[in-house]
Amino acid sequence: MTTTTNVTQKKKDRPNLNERIADLPLPIKVVLWILFALFLFALPLLNIPFITTPDSDFGGVLFTVSTYVLVALGLNIVVGYAGLLDLGYVGFYAVGAYTVGVLSSQHGSLPWLWCVPVAIAVAMVSGILLGAPTLRVRGDYLAIVTLGFGEIVRLTLVNSQWLGGAQGISNIPRPPGIELFEVPSIDWSTGVPVVDLGTTTTFLKFGISDFIPYYWLALVVIALVLVFDILVKNSRVGRAWEATREDEDAAELMGVPTFRFKLLAFALGAAIGGLSGALFAGKSGFINPQSFELLLSILFLAAVVVGGQGNRWGVILGAIVVSYFPERFREFADFRVLVFGLALMLLAIFRPQGLLPPRRTLRAKRADARQHVLEEGEAGA
């Protein structure tokens, strides 16, 4: 479907970046995408000054960022698409991580790879178990119910010895790897980039302290989830979610089984949360309830809303902001959280639609502006 409103016509003389990219021939677009993907994969090795975190290992930070991105994509289905306010998302993240922990170390010795599908399934089931009775409560009530769920999960982890209690679970196996070749990194310490053969990463060795392979793994998982997200969103399912978010009663009367679709969103969101939890467990080898505090749920939600709920690229950006900046600006030390809080407030005030608002709001704004101009014109005439 092509848009033929006067908006685009008016802007034809100076098309914006998105449109210029969209106008590029397909092969060039593909090449650009591949280059971009390569750049992402190479990022922890490039050690680009200013972007690289000075006070913490960049590979490790990038892995953390990518788990946030994954979580944000999952939560975006729940909050952004289906419009359900979930304040307990960390619960599913914990369920995923602990499923891996329990099966691979605490009460079993399954390899990590086997645990991942189980973790996804268990998280999904927990999403359905929570959602089935509670999705009938509306809006803000759901927020507190999910918040309660997150806390129930955490407290159960702390107080249940079967799950390791406060000690957590150690010795979780790593993902299987194959050691193929060494990838050198770039050293900038002299001011010009030099290939540093001394600091290398073994391609696909999931070791104890080199987090770059985990980051690569997370990137692949993100790519898969993104494809899934795009395919599902552009279908009957995505439309049903949006309709439910816009007007639940009207959607129901237009033949959308809203409850079923809300539950579906909840289950899929939970599954993705569980998947990122499983990744986290596989990377850190040790989990305890401290990694699943309520505050994390709030940060996850902040990632989605700050980025632009409903826009997958927006929430990715939001997740990066929320997880990367506190690591990048460690030099603020004790003032980090304060500055982060201020940044959230300023973002809320100056980018109320999020950093990358969803297409719908962008277009709505443009159309509103046009209407405004028309009205003014009429008034003037």
């Binding site: 990219i21 000054p49 200013f50 930070v61 406060a166 001011g191 600091t199 302290s209 040790f286």
Partner: protein, 380 residues
């Protein structure tokens, strides 16, 4: 896509400009070493623990001790100063591994004081062990930490398995309690300790309860304690919960003896519980300050307060590493140096067994009297 390219070009320029200034912004703010002596390795030691955030108290007490040790060293070695590199984990095991990696990648770091908590230790220590970087913890007391076969692991204080029995012994022999109630805070430290006490006291335990960290209202626990008729209460946990707990117990008219461990040995416990803190028995595998008056005086001179929990342990941990640097050890040879170390520190004789546990562990009993923590001697 084009935006990325556009973005990349000025970035490269900026990076070059930065590079021209001599720093990349990527390295830490280490002052350039002045000494040109061949022996001077421009070494650093790392401080790994919570320095900001809600758990920062303990980390800062340790850091103060470490800084004091560094001052001593640098005064003696003005040509070849050692600097401190902080790895602020906020006590969060999620952040710990990346920080550990950062420390490992910085080849100038020859040893780590920390990690301060048991949780972050489990997350970070495997990486240290793999890299062969020594880490001496001044505060992580979980006994299981020593059982992982980490060759680089050392601990300058007694673990919960040494303190727990001592606390139980004190309750039995000195307090002579016949009915003991045991409460823990579900934390790794508190629960671990309380479980040992429960086990050692056996049938004299008349009741158990578990509270949560950050809890402030203990109405139900207070009712349980008073209803049990206990004449002593052991609490495994930290001072933020201990203060309101004892306060609310005393308000409810409970008259028994309150026994706690080193997690509560903290002036803020007394400041906050005030009159209710009087008579509290605190066990601690730490030497009373009057044993090392010089350290106490130096600490007070520098930080304008008395040394606090684990400051002395922090000082000792750093001193071991600094002695190693003075002896010309680098990262690879430091492990053996620490393993063979045997010198008196401010808290105890510093000598380690094969697992990295300090051998000379004494547990002392302290009592709150007149708003001060006073030593009442070793628990033997």
């Amino acid at each position: 896509m084009r935006s990325t390219l556009k973005f990349a070009v000025p970035l490269a320029v900026a990076a070059l400009a930065l590079g021209a200034c001599g720093t990349t912004g990527g390295t830490s703010n280490t002052p350039a070493a002045s000494g040109g002596a061949a022996a001077c390795g421009d070494y650093k030691i790392g401080m790994f623990g919570a320095l900001t955030g809600p758990n920062a108290n303990l980390g800062i007490y340790i850091q103060n001790g470490v800084n004091l040790a560094l001052d001593d060293y640098n005064k003696k070695h003005p040509d070849c100063k050692v600097t401190l590199e902080n790895y602020d984990s906020q006590g969060d095991p999620t952040q710990a591994p990346a920080l550990a990696k950062k420390a490992i990648d910085d080849k100038k770091v020859v040893g780590i004081v920390g990690p301060a908590f048991s949780g972050e230790s489990k997350a970070a220590n495997p990486a240290f062990a793999e890299a062969g970087l020594v880490h001496i913890t001044p505060s992580a007391t979980n006994p299981a930490l020593a059982e992982n076969g980490w060759k680089t692991f050392f601990r300058v204080l007694g673990n919960d398995a040494t303190q727990g029995p001592a606390a139980a012994k004190y309750i039995k022999d000195t307090v002579k309690a016949t009915k003991v109630f045991v409460i823990d805070d579900a934390s790794e430290y508190g629960k671990g300790l309380a479980d040992i006490v429960r086990q050692d006291l056996g049938s004299t335990v008349v009741g158990n309860d578990t509270i949560q960290q950050k809890q402030t209202d203990f109405g139900a626990s207070v009712t349980k304690v008073t209803a049990s008729g206990a004449d002593a209460l052991f609490f495994g946990g930290y001072s933020p919960e201990a203060a309101p707990l004892i306060k609310q117990l005393r308000d409810a008219g409970w008259k028994g003896t309150f026994v706690v461990a080193d997690g509560v040995k903290d002036q803020s416990f007394i400041d906050n519980a005030q009159a209710a803190a009087e008579g509290t028995v605190i066990t601690c595998p730490c030497v009373p300050a009057d044993v090392a008056p010089d350290f106490q005086a130096a600490y007070k001179a520098k930080f304008n307060e008395d040394p606090n929990t684990y400051s002395g342990e922090g000082y000792d941990s750093a001193t071991i590493l600094l002695d190693g640097i003075a002896a010309g050890k680098d990262r690879a040879t430091m492990v053996d140096f620490v393993k063979a170390y045997d010198k008196p520190g401010v808290t105890k004789q510093l000598k380690f067994d094969a697992k990295g546990e300090v051998t000379d562990v004494k547990v002392f009993a302290y009592k709150v009297e007149g708003g001060k923590i006073v030593s009442v001697g070793e628990i033997k």
